[in-house]
Symmetry: C2
Subunit: 429 residues, 2 copies
Amino acid sequence: MSTSSGPDRSPRVTARYWIETAHPLEEAAAIMAGEQSTGTFVRVAGETEELRERFGARVESLVETGEAAAPSLPGASAPKSTPGLWRRAEVTLSWPLHNFGPSLPNLLAAIAGNLWELKPFSGMRLLDLSLPPQFLERYRGPQFGIAGTRSLTGVHGRPLIGTIIKPSVGLSPEATAERVADIARAGIDFVKDDELQADGPHCPFEDRLRAVMRVLDEHADRTGKRVMYAVNITGEIDEMLRRHDRVVAERNTCVMVSLNSIGLPALAALRAHGQVAIHGHRNGWGLLGRSPAIGMSFIAWQKLWRLAGIDHVHVNGLGNKFCESDESVLASARECLTPMFAPPQRGCEVMPVFSSGQSALQAPATYRALGSIDLIHACGGGIMGHPGGIAAGVRSLHQAWEAAVRGTPLAEYARTHRELAEALAAFGR
Amino acid sequence: MSTSSGPDRSPRVTARYWIETAHPLEEAAAIMAGEQSTGTFVRVAGETEELRERFGARVESLVETGEAAAPSLPGASAPKSTPGLWRRAEVTLSWPLHNFGPSLPNLLAAIAGNLWELKPFSGMRLLDLSLPPQFLERYRGPQFGIAGTRSLTGVHGRPLIGTIIKPSVGLSPEATAERVADIARAGIDFVKDDELQADGPHCPFEDRLRAVMRVLDEHADRTGKRVMYAVNITGEIDEMLRRHDRVVAERNTCVMVSLNSIGLPALAALRAHGQVAIHGHRNGWGLLGRSPAIGMSFIAWQKLWRLAGIDHVHVNGLGNKFCESDESVLASARECLTPMFAPPQRGCEVMPVFSSGQSALQAPATYRALGSIDLIHACGGGIMGHPGGIAAGVRSLHQAWEAAVRGTPLAEYARTHRELAEALAAFGR
């Protein structure tokens, strides 16, 4: 999507939507544009043509994509002239930046505010958005991103191999650290808390961090390898900043936050304050993204968070145990690696995190579809449940990615790589 | 909903959901509880019975409510044993508070995290939640609420009558102040910015606040009446706190924020810092709440924000121009006035804000259904478009509420109240 300049030369924000409506498409698109900029439902005193020209949102394109036999959402209006005809379309709107300035929270009110309650629509999804580079002057984007994450972990030439501490809830700080010790010894690059584990009274944040870092420091002293620990600091803003500082004091290199739980301003505050990589957990995303009739695509959603400062973000995984299709997972991951702004501006690329039901098996298809090794491949059972043990699980992932990059079928590579062979036998379907 | 104590005496959080699934209902409910507490899809090492007992979420109740011919959402799994049968149910889960502690962002990961991506479900809505009073020790709830808002405005014995500054976008600070001067002279109690108007370069926050407050100060000096101005301070956290302090310095009594744009931690930070009423704008709520197949009810949503510290929240209005039914609007408003905690705990009641297509006409039905005058009745065209002018518009609202409270039909009361009669003629349908 391109960002054009208006007649008054204000840079413009563009947003593309999927809509469903029984109203004439041009009328429906004009209602969206009016309601989200100068207008209310009816023209009011003081709303002059000049004001409309300077501040009105514009319909940049409108493409009909199909029809529906029935409205996807209840409560929509239908003109008497076209009973029973619900049409679908993609519409692109643009706003002059001077309506809200380069402010993500105020951008949201325009591109994702009252729209979903507008009566003429029986379906509404925000598909994509494009922001002018003024947002990059205001927001910081990823501090570490792909190159920085590789530098912090010392992992080059292959994906980072990661895992998640389980059970999700109930381990004491000491029990957590014991798990992490086993995982570190196995050669893992990256380990993360579960999103359900932050600062519950049975496993207080500070105690867990200290216990885990004692283990990871010992491991680094012994091996020279610093495992990145995405420790869940999700909480109130003062708590997150304080926890971040404890993370720095303990020489850890990463914090994790549940993005939908904290909001964009809290992330921006953490990023402004932060000295370590920010691992963005997307839990709650299904509420926004799963329905084809309502919501926001991951494509649009992740742009907001990248600008605000995440370095990694979850994209689910191929053959995952959730309800998302592989095609959708890959589109999400590709987008994380696609620049948001053209050079010489920063692209704000972030590392996609593949997880959920992952093992050595998914490496070839992931690599073929993504064309990149810049990702975190997070496996739970695919590493911890390897018949040869955790270290064999990690090695099976290394081998699978070697095979994937070489274009050698896994079964063939497995002939000379025992841990991969064991993984195929254990996890193959 | 009640909050029971577990066998280990930890207070519990309960949440009620609407679900749709092709799996046996008991199995589906158990998957929800497991995934959002101790479990992953499969039992892992270390997940003992004792740990399940202490940390597992529990299914408190499960009531089948109907069947669906087809899945409401794509991507759901169906067991081969029950092809084509999609059942709907209400399920109540409970979590021990010690899983996450009294932390709203971490509560969200449990009650509204990965749930919407779980494969066995073709529909999922969070309907309600109940929190133990430990949350009240951590969060502050409304600082002003209903009594405080009445005290700040000096309005007693009737709803606050409010209006919205239009056009939404494009007025200069001076033009905004001129509008507000007219509105104040007309006898309004409350005036608010549009959610699209915060700090755009054409109408910078500080200039707008200063210009409007000059007008409102003059009005207060002249009349003794202090109009409450819900000035939109939505932005990054440091911006919002700074703007709040400017609001206090200018002796204004209210700030407005777009809740979904800023997130719970930012609101809690504003509340902790704040000295004025917080007007919560719900724009973006449609994305969460409109679909019957996915999302979160306003009932559940507003509890989170009340705890975090709003004093007012938008509930739409009867006969509104959006897609919401009157029944839904009234349920939302009633909930705002219903205590979240039992005495001697604070109830955290907030003022519901009725808006969208409002005029004198809706007063009787609103009062009959709500049984309360504790609300802000915000009218745009219903005041500004009154044939007798703005002051007549405000008086027509006063008269309509007098009639409503007395139980006198509007048409009858209008015989002796000219402005009401004019409103009925202009806005009657």
